[in-house]
Symmetry: C2
């Protein structure tokens, strides 16, 4: 009997051959032309919706047409994170081997819930966790899990901290504790901590946001004050988050001092190194992470500075067994692994259940380049960051942050120019993408981060030109506005 | 100046061309040979670890060798979920267009945090959410989000319920409520509810596990009793989960009755249709889901019955705005979308922050096949399930569950045969994969589920043969054991 499901879902052999060829052609065409595309364009949602609703979904449009539709949509109707002049959030150009890995994973479709289903994927991920843990100097054996992204990794850390600090948390929840738990992050920390605290039933108010000093690093004095006040008020401090590479300005908290504070108060010390932990791969930068070895857990996103496609978060922890205590459950229907303590069923060690094999893209990229290659690639981006900083200073922008990482916060010298408006002008040019943020005391800043390994010096020069044009236009409109003002 | 990062991460043009060719060759070779591989083999972890630690990670091994290593590992050292005789957990053979989509997403690397970054991906996902919501009969506009999997979708539902039911939950957490919240699931529900309840700070004990009737459906009488007792004890019931397609036996709770109970008590009604909601795509099966339109939220995993690669969970909700209330945060560094209320920044509507474009694999598979094609493909698998059931009965196995979905629970007639031992024998044969579970009253059962669209009738016959051999061997060993027993 003929199996129609197989033809429909696998496609006939010739059709599949055509689709693979078209796929590779499309990817190659994108890779060779992305530098010339506008980084971002204004997209009219109604146009996209119309295109979608015009498809004949009842009968389907076939593989070639569907592929073509997706390629056109991805190319014409979105911002291009791989673009060399995307100086944006921490979204990289993908490594080719990361793309290869995601395709392999999709085709083999391993299920990372039960060890007995996915021994090779399990070992690959265990290997990566161990290797990256060692690079950070975490005491061996390092445990950990791959995550959908940094938000899940930070969320996982919060749950680890709750579960290890409060034995009744697992069965009884937050109401079984003797008081309200509190956690500590800096003003420059990523807001995924707030989402995680809310999701863990602590509430947004449990996140104590500590001011930073002039270098955008958490103020140790303010932290101690806050801790003392909270303890006096009967709160239960249980987690201190150090940021290693803040989203706005790449700032790195004083990790050794934070480790000491956490240890003195008996609280869990988590380092959010989603972007910045990559400094551990470059010998001359690893000093930036001094103290990270003392963390109870670390967030490290390979889909940021390591240029692996999204999402490849890692949560590393030096507490063997903690993940199992936090996430373990028993079921009748899941296969049971053997008794070897080095084998774990991933679903008992993570927020997820059946999980995509995330680690392969990290492994394949690392195995291809080696640590030496990775260090060289990161060095290039760091060098571009340094150059950008120098060029901005030469073009008379005020640089507002100080870091060896390739992220520059800056503003026009003088008064009256709307920083968000400047960022908008750059974005609207289509020639580059930067954003606006706020630093210490709410000071508005432009933010340019070298995230694409494609970025070269010519791209920096083009950004400077675009910025100068935007600044000149903005100054003109400031003058016009002032001239229109009635005299007093 | 030469950019070494580009060569290292993108690879040189010729090297990349070779890698693409090797990738497609490897996938095609796997697709054409997987039917002949052992479904599962005993894997010695130390062998895998040795292979990994023998790699020269300092200098890297280059793209071709790395790819070959991964392909060998994925092929030789794991269970094959795409295998036609993988009668296993809900892990499918991947649709080819799903593989294509995952490769596109990896190469373009859209970032689904900010709308302004990913308009096309955002609209594609919004479109899919709307279309699948309509198939389930949820009132429009349907809101929702793609998730890493069903565990995240169920977790999201739990947070929606908490956030909508308890206004102080967001800022004050669980301790700010007037009592301990409680949720209700059946014995046959997926245990991700327990993980989610724990992760939300409710504690495992907040999950009230309600017994099932002889058809493995939640007992309405027991549910009412439990609710009344909890209310009397001052607990705060807030969430009722109906299962549509239980993991063990495919059971579907009486959804209309559950909707009525939930409505009467003013609690959120979530349906976990991770696998079973796919019945909505087959007109003659959609009656199984009667009542699902009344759900406040639904979990529907496209990486289960819809044969999309992992992970493609969907959380659908008829409460417009609820996701934004549950997950919204404000930051200085994220770009702001416009004021159009149909545009959302995905990071404010999901547990995740920067997210992979999950929806493309669902969209591309659906657009290629159409709803008609999907119905036909699902019908085939349902037909194989029916055939398997008939063949098992003919071969004198006792079938223990009753469902139109392709999942059969069964046991050998007569006493004394260890069911887990039988499953192990089948797995060890390498010729098929089934598992053991426990049904009503803890009765052990064998479980075979048609999850691969490759499964044909010959595969069913082979499974029956393997089962008969395993049963005969098991009977022999029962007899041997009994002969060895001393007479009383």
């Amino acid at each position: 009997v003929h199996n129609p499901a197989r033809d429909l879902l696998l496609l006939a052999d010739e059709e599949r051959a055509e689709v693979w060829a078209a796929l590779i052609r499309s990817i190659e065409s994108y890779l060779s032309s992305v530098d010339d595309l506008p980084v971002a364009t204004a997209v009219e949602p109604l146009l996209v919706r119309e295109a979608l609703s015009n498809l004949d979904l009842s009968r389907g449009i076939g593989a070639s047409e569907a592929l073509e539709f997706a390629v056109r949509g991805l190319t014409d109707w979105q911002l291009h994170t791989p673009h060399p002049r995307y100086f944006g959030l921490f979204n990289p150009a993908s490594s080719t081997m990361g793309v290869v890995a995601d395709a392999l994973v999709a085709a083999w479709n391993p299920q990372l819930a039960a060890w007995s289903h996915s021994q090779f994927p399990y070992e690959v991920e265990r290997f990566c966790i161990g290797e990256f843990g060692a690079k950070l100097g975490l005491p061996q054996p390092v445990d950990g899990t791959f995550c959908s992204g940094g938000a899940e990794a930070n969320h996982t850390a919060l749950l680890l901290a709750l579960s290890e600090r409060f034995p009744s948390f697992r069965a009884g929840g937050i109401r079984s504790l003797e008081g309200q738990p509190a956690l500590y992050v800096s003003e420059q920390a990523h807001h995924s901590s707030i989402k995680a605290a809310r999701a863990c039933g602590l509430g947004d108010d449990a996140v104590r946001i500590v001011p930073v000093d002039d270098d955008l690093r958490i103020s140790l004095g303010a932290l101690e004050e806050r801790l003392e006040a909270d303890l006096a008020a009967g709160l239960l401090p249980f987690l201190l988050v150090g940021t290693a590479g803040g989203t706005s300005a790449g700032s790195i908290d004083p990790l050794p001092e934070l480790a000491e504070v956490a240890s003195r108060h008996g609280i869990w010390f988590h380092v959010d190194g989603a972007w910045g932990a990559a400094a551990a791969l470059v010998p001359e930068l690893s000093h930036l992470l001094k103290g990270i070895h003392a963390a109870d857990s670390v967030t490290f996103d390979a889909h940021k500075f390591l240029s692996v496609p999204m999402g490849a978060g890692m949560l590393l922890t030096s507490h063997d067994g903690a993940l199992g205590r936090a996430f373990g459950v028993d079921t009748a229907y899941m296969p049971h692994r053997g008794d070897d303590p080095s084998l774990r069923d991933p679903y008992t060690h993570s927020l997820q259940w059946s999980r995509r094999h995330i680690g392969l893209k990290v492994f394949l990229t690392l195995a291809t380049l080696g640590w030496d290659g990775y260090a060289e690639a990161l060095r290039w981006q760091v060098r571009m960051g340094r150059l950008l900083r120098a060029k901005l200073l030469r073009a008379e922008w005020e640089v507002m942050n100080s870091t060896e990482l390739p992220i520059v916060c800056f503003r026009p010298e003088g008064e009256g120019i709307d920083v968000q408006g400047l960022a908008d002008r750059v974005v609207q040019s289509g020639q580059a993408w930067i954003s606006a943020t706020r630093l210490h005391g709410g000071a508005p800043a432009l933010r340019a981060c070298v995230t694409s390994y494609r970025t070269g010096e010519a791209d920096l020069d083009e950004l400077i030109l675009i910025l100068e044009t935007a600044r000149a236009e903005a100054r003109k409109s400031v003058v016009r506005t002032e001239m229109r003002r009635p005299h007093p």
